[in-house]
Symmetry: C2
Subunit: 329 residues, 2 copies
């Protein structure tokens, strides 16, 4: 197969676009597509400061790379969750994120969850009542809290995550199978800022995972190949398998599923949702907005964890990032 732009040997064929490209044109195409997505959904402008949540994986590092190349002001935030999983997952991924930032002279903030909050995520999950089997619920809660809080505290206009099309479609698929109307009404490439919440954007939301992976590889970005060890057997991975199988038989079905959803939303289809804007008030402990009416879920969870560990740590209110931290080896 030949590159549509120059006739050289193509490295990737985007069947959904009927577009095959050589290495060089593919490496141009991804930033160009990303720029279009950013502009189309009015994610941010070159004047705004962006905090990129980096995990050390292909998507977030690829996104950070692309934003730099496009001339946006993007710094990074790495959250060490204290997950080992037999492969030193968090250590390895922090090393990747730090090496990426070092090599390019970029600013990376690091939050070490075990040090800042008193326990690594897997132990926190076991000690809290969230879920005996999977730490994913506590992990998500903790990451969302830290990301929003630091973005605000550090004065960023917007928080960018590396979610790709496959991620978005798996979530959409799950929310559609259960018609989780509240989640459907909120799933969007851009979540506008609300009092206490920074704007959240997903500039890779229209790029297939195989494209973001190819971009990282061809761009020479070193990243952690492993999935989080706790993701195995998750429902979202199962949905990804089903969707991959459908994509093989019906190329483009993921993209059209996602785009038709966005179009239906824009057409007002989801506006009948009776979900009112939740009544948000600042948590008396950490100051982040919460619907709970008192202490937020993050503070309650971690208070419980620390109480059960009987090892008082700094506490949720003392959360501070280390800037440009070297990887802890």
């Amino acid at each position: 197969m030949k590159c549509r732009k120059c006739g050289a040997r193509a490295v990737l064929n985007m069947r959904q676009h009927r577009l095959a490209l050589c290495r060089d044109h593919f490496l141009e195409w991804i930033p160009e597509q990303t720029r279009r997505i950013i502009e189309r959904y009015r994610m941010f402008t070159p004047e705004e400061r962006i905090l990129v949540a980096v995990s050390g994986g292909k998507d977030s590092l690829g996104l950070w790379d692309v934003l730099q190349r496009l001339g946006y002001q993007a710094d990074g935030l790495y959250i060490n969750l204290g997950i080992d999983g037999g492969t030193g997952y968090s250590t390895a991924s922090q090393r990747m994120a730090a090496a990426f930032a070092d090599a390019r002279g970029l600013k990376l903030y690091v939050v070490d969850v075990p040090a800042a909050l008193g326990a690594p995520i897997p132990i926190a999950a076991r000690l809290s009542n969230h879920n005996a089997h999977k730490p994913c619920s506590v992990c998500g809660l903790t990451k969302r809290h830290i990301m929003n809080r630091l973005a605000r505290d550090l004065g960023y206009a917007v928080l960018a995550t590396g979610h790709n099309l496959d991620d978005e479609v798996a979530v959409l698929f799950g929310n559609t199978l259960t018609w989780a109307t509240g989640y459907l009404a909120r799933q969007s490439p851009v979540l506008d800022a609300e009092p206490g919440f920074v704007r959240k954007v997903k500039p890779f939301c229209r790029l297939y995972e195989r494209e973001t992976a190819a971009y990282a590889v061809l761009q020479g970005i070193e990243y952690v190949y492993d999935e989080c060890p706790h993701a195995e057997g998750s429902t979202s991975l199962y949905y990804k398998e089903v969707l991959n199988q459908m994509e093989t038989e019906r190329p483009g079905i993921k993209l059209s599923f996602y785009l038709s959803f966005l179009q239906a939303r824009q057409g007002g289809f989801l506006d009948g949702s009776p979900h009112q804007a939740p009544d948000l008030r600042p948590c008396p402990d950490c100051g982040q907005p919460t619907t709970s009416g008192s202490t937020c879920s993050f503070c309650r969870t971690w208070d419980r964890v620390r109480e059960r560990m009987k090892t008082p740590a700094e506490g949720g209110n003392a959360l501070r990032p280390a800037e440009q931290a070297a990887p802890d080896e």
Copy 2:
């Protein structure tokens, strides 16, 4: 596995309900479930006359059987579409429908499409411009027209079809993957009567296909096993495969997908749909309501077919059913 009600050997295990039943209790359970669905969605009352669209398959004959047992006033309508497919599909299915009605002394109306409209469906599809490959579009248009028209002309309050849960979920899945908002807004166990349209109901909409099939077999109903020969390779059959695979891994997922959709609709989630009630006017040729502004799609299609066949037939306006017709062997 044992019957939950009597401890005898179970013949079917409804994993989504955690319910295993013996033959006798299963044969009680299906009518009881159907009665509940009819009442829950206010489909019809014992005082209303119902026309059941029967194809000769397990679902429609099973439904007719159940409605009789429940004491409803249900007559049948069989439409011979003139589909052979190498197996004499239409002839065989008409024979099944007629034998079912004869054995029970039920009233069956028969419409013979080739005689009444001038051509069998496969030829009509080829001669019209609808779809060169598949006759399904012309077939659906023709069946919908005939069913509604005869139900009205013969004074029935409601038209019942044998769509089961698997059918409904495959349609819902397809409409969700494309976010076909107009179709989503209209998919319902009950479509209320509108000027020119009778009420349409699907009393088997919450029963799995394996349950309706088991009911027909255990009740001793003889039915056509074959799918329509033109269904092979259709998108809806492909969706059924994907959904069956998901059901195997996540028992109950089809039912919960469908029920959560109905709940979201009831909660007003789909009310934001900008789809206005279409402006319906009677077709000047046949009198059926149409949005076209002039001759309806049914009349235009069949006029074109007859013109190209150069064999003037009775025409759309002369459509008359034969009552209790014997199968043409």
